[in-house]
């Protein structure tokens, strides 16, 4: 599998805190139930959304098709490639 576990753990715990822990800490008042539902739904939807995006990329089936000038610029800015823009 091409996935590291750190982002997975980080985001799952983050949304778990929002969706499972925080609802217990909501102050008592007439809107307590509403705030709890809001927190739980937010956590569930946002976590699932992030997860789908992560899963889509962890085992990619195709790669990006880049134009050669773009590759040269990328090599210069992002990478350690010996290719330079001397030309």
């Amino acid at each position: 599998m091409g996935a590291s576990y750190i982002p997975f753990i980080v985001f799952t715990t983050l949304w778990a805190i929002v969706g499972i822990v925080l609802p217990f800490v909501v102050p008592k008042g007439p809107n307590r139930g509403i705030i709890q539902v809001v927190l739980m739904l937010t956590a569930a939807t946002c976590w699932l959304f992030w997860l789908c995006c992560y899963m889509a990329q962890m085992n990619p089936l195709i790669g990006p098709k880049l134009d050669r000038h773009t590759i040269m610029i990328l090599a210069k800015e992002w990478g350690n490639s010996p290719i330079t823009l001397a030309k």
Binding site: N31, V37, L41, C53, P60, L61, I62, P64
Partner: protein, 831 residues
């Protein structure tokens, strides 16, 4: 549980009110706004009701107030706004108010009438003045043309005047300019050409005293011979409504008259100015009380109108009112009753009785300023039935979230967030402005929705890695090794290089969102399509499962537990077995298939198409073999899929026949019980059935009374089943609009950036102002097309997804809204 879970519990209460306490009590209850009174005198004519006289009094006062307001508007007197709402006036105040209003109205009517008279007098005098002035010119001209010498004395001219023209007489007058040509023609015809008409236009406009319109007038003089012609001319003049003025032919008399007229005009102008001042003073004095009185009279009318709903007690001693009250507000009503009773000092206090009833109560959802917008979205579709689960609670998050999936762009989301935040932070001052524009009202009413939509869109924008169609590289792209691996030869040989994920990608995907390298790829859309389509279906199926599960709550509430097994269970099994399985396949494909492993069977060329697999599953077809790949993902997949399809298909007859058969069995059992009881005692047992039937007729929310014919039950169930089965397929596909709209949005913003913003990248000094202009164009188009149009479009689609795909799975929606007797509501309706 939050108070929005379902609508509030309502009780029907009877309130016995002492007549002295009635008016102050209604005044208090109107301020509270928690009771919806029922009309107990429905069949009584509105003129025969008890308080009809008072309502007529209020109407009269309103009429007087309107008249005074109109007069104020004519004179452009400012009516200042109210600081705070006054309370409804007590009976003593009412009498004072009435008297005051009557006096004011009389004064203003008198002033108006007198000013009309003054104005018409003034008009006449002015006309006379012009006639005198202009005819003097005529006579001077005529004399000049007649007399030999140009400068003759006036007296001698008179003598010459008398000679040849002893019989020539004339009339002088004023007529409206528009009528002049027709008038001329008429006179010519009537006098057979024996008339000479001269006319001069008056430049100054006249104000019509009644209507206030401005009219242009013309002075004319008609010369003729003989009395007959004079009669005819006079008749024609009166027919054309020309005012004739006596004009002396003698120029001395002319001048004297003119002087007199001028003095009169001056006097009259003075009087008119004084009258106008007096009028202004009176109106201004009344102006500051106008709104106050308006509110008071309105409240009073509302009180009497509602009191007309009440019944008179048998002993004719007190009034009986019936109304719906939310259970949580009953103590408040009771305390109000006791306070009013004690303050009125009546011998017997007013009290309240809660009565049991089978009537359908109104639906009341207590909302605050935040939840009100979302509740409105749901109520627009249909008012929830009483006691039904309230979808608005979940809409608070699912609506902005689904919007954000379609809108996902950080830049546009920030614009939307700023707009929403501005409206929310300054809501008090914006509300006080009372802006009347309807578009603004819509936006302002949905300010919290817009705020949340902006927040969620920022999140999805980060995940789609799209800020004004550009991507951010926060964590470092995971394809960086691929870039390093490219050699100079490769670049020289090919225009495009496609990275091979089996070799080139890092083992770790981009941790948060989409890898920024995709923004520059030519095949970006291919990748995004697979991602977004799967995402849409996953969320769609989950949303629908959530919707179907909501129906359980309703079945439990309305005591139809058998429906949980006979309706909910087959529905959810059908949905999960087929479409839930599709979601599972998608997740398996995400996790299992990748190009990075060494096993080609789980590589790119062998990754199955989920859609084809699903279709094959439904049609029990064998997949086509290609390329040495496995036919199925795992070994027992074909058997598992067959079981799932069979189970799913079996659910359909369960849905179709389960509930009707249960009802048949239930009715047979009831009939047997009745027959057994019948044998014991005949007559008494007939009645409960009849009562049960009439009760069942009243309960509309049930839909299936005990007396509903069996054929109806079957038909209803058949329609329901077909609708549900077809809708699972069509709604699942409908959720693909989440993909479609987000694709459209990202492509539009890319077009705007690459075609408009990019052309401003120049390297010369000219570039600076050019960038300024191009940025202006780009910004305008971004806001107009991408934020407003796309925002509106995504809003509409999200609303549709909620109303149709989500709520059709469980929503009944046959309730009616709770409309309490509340001054706030009545006053805002009037505005």
């Amino acid at each position: 549980m939050g108070s929005m879970f379902r609508s509030e519990e309502m009780v029907l209460a009877q309130i016995f009110i002492q007549p002295e306490a009635a008016y102050p009590l209604m005044s208090e209850l109107g301020a509270l706004g928690i009771v919806q009174f029922r009309d107990l005198n429905k069949d009584v004519n509105s003129f025969q009701r008890k308080f009809a006289a008072e309502v007529i009094r209020c109407d009269d006062m309103e009429r007087k107030l309107r008249y005074v307001e109109d007069e104020m508007q004519k004179d452009k007197v400012d009516i200042p706004d109210l600081e705070e709402q006054p309370k409804a006036p007590n009976p003593r105040e009412i009498v004072d108010l009435e008297a005051h209003l009557k006096k004011t109205e009389k004064e203003i009517v008198e002033m108006s009438e007198s000013s009309v008279k003054l104005k018409s007098n003034f008009l006449e005098l002015i006309e006379l003045k012009y006639v005198l002035e202009k005819t003097a010119i005529f006579f001077n001209e005529r004399k000049k043309s007649v007399a030999e010498s140009p400068r003759n004395d006036l007296v001698s001219e008179d003598a010459t005047n008398q000679e040849g023209r002893s019989q020539l007489s004339f009339v002088a007058g004023v007529i409206g300019r528009k009528r002049m040509p027709a008038f001329e023609k008429m006179l010519w015809r009537v006098c057979r050409g024996n008339v000479l008409i001269k006319q001069v236009d008056i430049d100054e406009t006249f104000e019509d005293p009644i209507t206030g319109n401005e009219i242009y007038k013309t002075v004319f003089v008609a010369f003729f011979q003989g009395d007959q012609l004079k009669e005819r001319v006079t008749k024609v003049c009166s027919g054309f409504r020309a005012t004739l003025h006596p004009c002396p032919s003698n120029s001395n008399e002319c001048q004297d008259m003119l002087k007199e007229v001028k003095i009169n005009i001056e006097d009259l102008t003075l009087i008119m100015n004084k009258t106008q001042d007096h009028r202004q003073r009176v109106l201004n004095a009344v102006a500051k009380d106008m709104k106050d009185w308006n509110v008071k009279v309105c409240k009073m009318k509302a009180i009497y109108h509602t009191m007309n709903y009440f019944n008179k007690d048998v002993s004719k001693k007190c009034l009986i009112a019936e109304g719906w009250i939310p259970l949580n507000d009953v103590p408040q009503v009771q305390t109000t009753l006791t306070t009013i009773s004690s303050s009125c000092g009546s011998s017997t206090p007013s009290f309240m009785n809660v009565i049991d009833t089978n009537d359908n109560p109104p639906t009341f959802n207590r909302t605050n300023k935040f939840t009100k917008g979302f509740q409105n979205l749901i109520d627009s579709y249909g008012m929830a039935s009483y006691g039904e689960v309230n979808p608005a609670l979940y809409t608070i998050i699912t609506f902005p979230f689904l919007f954000a999936v379609m809108f996902g762009d950080v830049g546009h989301a920030i614009i939307m967030l700023i707009f929403g935040a501005y409206m929310c932070i300054y809501e008090k001052s914006l509300e006080a402005k009372k802006i009347k524009s309807e578009i603004w009202t819509i936006f302002f009413g949905g300010r919290y929705i817009i705020l949340l939509m902006g927040l969620f869109s920022i999140y999805t924008g980060f995940i789609y890695n799209d800020i004004f169609s550009l991507s951010m590289n926060i964590f470092g792209t995971s394809w960086v090794d691929a870039v390093d691996r490219i050699s100079l030869e490769d670049i020289n040989k090919n225009n495009f290089i496609e990275f091979n994920p089996s070799v080139d990608s890092a083992t770790v995907p981009y941790p948060f969102g989409l890898d920024p390298i995709w923004q520059m790829g030519k095949n970006k859309i291919i990748f995004l399509n697979t991602f977004k389509m799967k995402l849409s279906i996953i969320f769609g199926v989950l949303h629908m499962i959530f919707g179907v599960s909501m129906s359980v709550i309703n079945y439990v509430r309305f005591n139809k537990k058998y429906s949980i097994v006979l309706e909910f269970l087959p529905q959810i099994v059908f949905l999960v077995a087929l479409f839930g399985w599709m979601v599972v396949l998608m997740i398996i494909k995400f996790v299992w298939y990748g190009a990075q492993g060494t096993d080609y069977r789980v590589g790119t060329s062998c990754a199955p198409s989920i859609l084809i697999m699903f279709i094959n599953m439904m049609l029990f077809k064998e997949p086509t073999q290609h390329d040495n790949c496995d036919l199925y993902i795992f070994e027992f997949q074909p058997t598992l899929q067959m079981i799932l399809v069979v189970v799913g298909v079996l659910c359909i007859p369960t849905m179709l026949l389960g509930k009707p058969i249960y009802i048949i069995i239930q009715r047979r059992r009831q009939q047997k019980q009745i027959q057994i009881k019948d044998n014991v005692n005949k007559t008494m047992e007939m009645q409960p059935e009849i009562i049960k039937e009439t009760d069942a007729n009243k309960q509309e929310s049930d839909g299936h009374g005990d007396d509903e014919p069996l054929s109806e039950v079957f038909i209803y169930q058949a329609i329901h089943t077909i609708e549900y089965v077809l809708s699972t397929i069509s709604h699942t596909a409908s959720y693909l609009r989440l993909w479609a709209l987000s694709l459209a949005h990202s492509q539009l913003s890319e077009v705007l950036w690459s075609r408009i913003m990019r052309i401003s990248s120049m390297n010369s000094f000219v570039g600076a102002p050019f960038v300024f202009l191009i940025f202006g164009a780009w910004a305008f188009l971004t806001i107009a097309i991408l934020v407003m149009m796309e925002g509106l479009s995504a809003f509409l689609h999200t609303l549709r997804l909620h109303w149709v795909e989500f709520m059709s799975k469980f929503f009944i929606g046959l309730g009616y809204a709770f409309e309490p007797y509340s001054f706030k509501r009545i006053l805002s309706e009037d505005e």
